[in-house]
């Protein structure tokens, strides 16, 4: 399968490329009062209203040490779109299914991480886009 790797804070994460519709520079954001904390707001993507999740906030990660190059990863789950605000997109790579392991349980585990990818000599967290969509 193909994975898209990105940074949030100082963490490297991956999403399944099949979920990704496009990667764009951040669009002007409209805050939605009363929305869940992790939702940064909505953007207008060519007429479609897309909610944006700040991955760093959602996973409780700190500010990045490396200068961020913010991107919006627009993901599709069924008919719904969800924008992931990330601190930079690093690479797209092919990984064997065997390199994916279930997420470690216990302290610090997040309901939005479904696995760990151990390809290319790095450990990256696999993000569950469906769970983020709620």
């Amino acid at each position: 399968m193909q994975l898209c790797a990105f940074r949030a804070g100082d963490e490297e994460l991956v999403v399944d490329i099949m979920r990704v519709q496009e990667i764009i520079a951040p669009l002007p954001l409209t805050a939605v009062p009363r929305s869940p904390r992790a939702i940064e707001g909505v953007v207008n993507l060519r007429g479609a209203i897309v909610p944006v999740v700040d991955v760093r906030k959602q996973l409780g990660l700190g500010e990045p040490k490396q200068a961020p190059r913010p991107r919006l990863i627009v993901c599709r789950v069924g008919p719904h779109l969800l924008g992931l605000r990330v601190d930079g997109v690093s690479t797209v790579f092919r990984a064997e299914r065997e390199s994916l392991k279930p997420a470690p349980m216990g302290q610090g585990s997040s309901p939005h991480i479904i696995g760990v990818c151990a390809a290319g000599g790095k450990l990256r967290l696999l993000l569950d886009v469906r769970a983020l969509l709620g």
């Binding site: 939605v32 009363r34 209203i49 969509l133 709620g134």
Partner: protein
């Protein structure tokens, strides 16, 4: 999917026929006791006939059977074999109701239910009415002296029409016309049309007495109330002559031996009229509308570029090009406006669609209620968005039931109160700019303030200290609270466990307002105000704490400027006085927990929802714009207060406020204490 399609096609067509039937029956019903117009009977007969054919094609046996009985009954009626008495017309009205019921069942794919049983019972009932036998009278046709050979070729219906005309003393003529074989069909059609303007053409018989091979002659048996001179005038352009047929004169030489020509059968005619409309799924119109919404944005972008290009001066675009661009942008704007208006018009349907159904129901309720009530209906031609019209039938039905059941007193009570025995129930619609106003009123006893107060106290909807201070208007509005009913015993007609709160909820969904006008002894009127459409809405663009929001204009009553010092605080709540009415006041920034900005004056957008009013204060008004609201995503469905988001042309998402939700949020604490309206 492909299997499903014929079913929806069937339902759409059958529903159209039944609605047509219903419309005609309403007229028939209104003219009870008079002799039905032959054209009307024919059209009802044809509708029943089409429905029979259609339903048997799709295997809906119950509908076929009921339509068949209806067709038989109508045939007997138009042939004068039975009388259009009350029993029969009532049965027709019930039958159309039952057919609607059967269609609903078919749409839900149900095969058993009360509607099915009712249909079977009704079919038997109508048959028994038909078998009660005709009333034979002496046949006036015999006195006509028409030759047996003529009588022989007339259809049963034509004989009947001749008979009726003789009975009424209308003069009968035989009109003779000879036409060239080349264009006889057009000429005959034209002649028939001309004759119909002043007379009834009972039968058209081809004549063998044409002068030569290239011509054909016709005898038209015509019943004419106008003078012979008038008839001559009408016939002159066609070179046709006329001869008197009457009981006294000698029979004209009839000569019909050729078979009667096919002049188009009735079923063909009805098929053609149905084919003139195109049925479109409303969701397709929604898609078109969304596309137009996007185009409107492109338009405003182009407009901005054009203005920018002109302003840029010598350094920018060539001035001629800038001018061209501006002109094209204006042309685009005009065309888009037309397109938008066009799509909105397509969505519009006359309220008559729902009024006809209601009229049928009301007539049944009137029969069952035992009260003496005149029902007045007007404004069926007022048009509204199809989706709104559909959602109106339940609330209106409820209000009408209320008026008949609770509003109007018994004849005895009315006489005792010095009123006329007969009560009046009205259903009026009027068009008022961007809104439609519908009134459901009665001239009954009016709402009983004391009883509403008692009931509200008993149910704990208001406190004992509060109740005596409430004004009539506030008290009346209590009837919209869930579970409120002043009726002591449950009635068969309207006691179905739903109250006016359901009416209110339905109207809220349509961004509608409801008001009560009620005077003791004079009656009660519910006034519903509805927007014309929900597809593209006009929105007020406002700003609060630096954020931009769109407020649908159909829920905005007015805008007032208020200085902070003009606000009053009542029970920890800020209130605003607008022309003597006290309205709760809240800043949008407070509602959304945004940092408050100090202001010299508030712009207060007075919004209304059903009977509630609220003043929503914003920091600035930015203007008005047409917007297409797009839903917020599933991730945000639990966030209350927003109907969706839209794009005002700057490529940002702007949130559209859900005024009903915000108002009911404001009112919820008030429901318990009932302090505010």
């Amino acid at each position: 999917m492909s299997e499903k399609k014929p079913v929806t096609e069937f339902l759409a067509e059958a529903t159209e026929i039944v609605e047509g039937l219903s419309r005609e029956l309403v007229v028939l019903d209104e003219h009870r006791g008079e002799e039905p117009e032959p054209d009307r009977l024919n059209s009802i007969f044809r509708a029943a006939h089409s429905l029979k054919g259609l339903s048997s094609l799709f295997g809906h046996e119950r509908i076929t059977r009921l339509a068949h009985v209806l067709e038989d009954a109508l045939d007997a009626l138009r042939l004068g074999k039975v009388m259009a008495d009350d029993a029969l017309i009532d049965a027709f009205v019930d039958a159309v109701d039952a057919l609607s019921g059967l269609l609903t069942m078919a749409s839900r794919d149900e095969s058993e239910g009360p509607a099915a049983e009712r249909a079977v019972a009704l079919a038997q009932h109508i048959e028994s009415l038909l078998s009660q036998g005709p009333t034979p009278v002496e046949d006036p046709l015999k006195q006509l002296g028409l030759e047996p050979s003529v009588l022989h070729v007339l259809t049963e219906y034509e004989e009947h029409r001749l008979r009726e005309n003789v009975k009424k003393g209308v003069t009968l003529y035989k009109v003779r016309a000879v036409f060239s074989l080349d264009d006889f069909d057009q000429r005959l059609t034209a002649l028939t049309a001309a004759l119909k303007a002043i007379a009834e053409v009972v039968s058209t018989l081809p004549s063998a007495q044409a002068s030569d091979e290239s011509h054909i002659g016709f005898d038209l048996l015509t019943a004419c109330k106008q003078s012979a001179a008038e008839l001559t005038r009408v016939l002159a352009p066609y070179g046709a002559s006329h001869a008197l047929i009457s009981a006294s004169t000698a029979p004209p030489r009839p000569r019909p031996s050729a078979p009667r020509p096919e002049l188009g059968s009735s079923s063909e005619l009805s098929l053609r009229s149905l084919a003139q409309t195109v049925r479109v799924d409303i969701s397709r119109l929604d898609k078109l509308m969304a596309a137009v919404g996007d185009l409107l944005l492109t338009r405003s972008n182009i407009k901005r570029f054009a203005e920018g290009a002109r302003a840029a001066g010598p350094g920018g675009l060539h001035p001629l090009w800038a001018q061209e661009l501006a002109r094209e942008a204006r042309a685009l704007e005009r065309k888009l406006d037309d397109l938008q208006k066009g799509i909105l018009e397509v969505r519009m349907v006359p309220l008559g669609q729902v009024f006809d159904r209601l009229a049928r129901l009301v007539r049944r309720l009137l029969r069952e209620s035992g009260k003496e009530i005149d029902f007045e209906i007007s404004g069926g031609d007022v048009e509204l968005d199809k989706l709104i019209v559909e959602d109106l039938s339940d609330p209106l039905m409820h209000l009408l039931r209320n008026a008949i059941d609770h509003g109007i007193e018994t004849p005895e009570q009315r006489v005792a109160a010095g009123k006329s025995r007969r009560g009046r129930v009205r259903l009026y619609a009027t068009s008022e700019g961007n809104h439609v106003k519908i009134e459901v009123g009665d001239d009954g006893a009016g709402l009983d303030e004391a009883r509403i107060r008692d009931e509200a106290l008993k149910r704990g909807l208001v406190t004992a200290t509060k109740a005596p201070q409430m004004q009539r208007r506030e008290l009346l509005n209590l009837v919209f609270l869930p579970g409120f009913s002043t009726r002591k015993q449950v009635s068969e007609l309207s006691g179905r466990g739903v109250g006016l709160d359901v009416v209110k909820t339905n109207l809220q969904r349509l961004s509608g307002l409801i008001d009560i006008v009620s005077e003791p002894g004079q009656g009660t009127t519910f006034v519903l105000t509805l927007p014309l459409t929900l597809a593209i809405i006009r929105a007020l663009v406002v700003q609060a704490s630096g954020h931009t929001y769109a407020v649908p204009l159909n829920s905005v009553l007015e805008i007032v400027a208020v200085r902070p010092s003009e606000l009053r605080t009542v029970e920890h709540r800020q209130m605003l006085s607008v022309r003597g009415q006290t309205v709760p006041f809240v800043r949008l920034s407070q509602l959304f927990k945004l940092p408050l900005v100090e202001v010299q004056q508030h712009y207060v957008v007075l919004v209304g929802l059903a009977q509630h009013r609220m003043g929503l204060a914003v920091d600035a008004l930015l203007g008005q714009q047409d917007v297409v609201t797009k839903p917020l995503s599933a991730r945000l469905r639990d966030v209350r207060g927003f109907a969706g988001a839209t794009d005002l042309g700057d490529r940002r998402a702007v949130l559209v406020l859900d005024v009903p939700a915000l108002v009911s949020e404001m009112m919820r604490p008030a429901d318990a204490g009932m302090g505010n309206l």
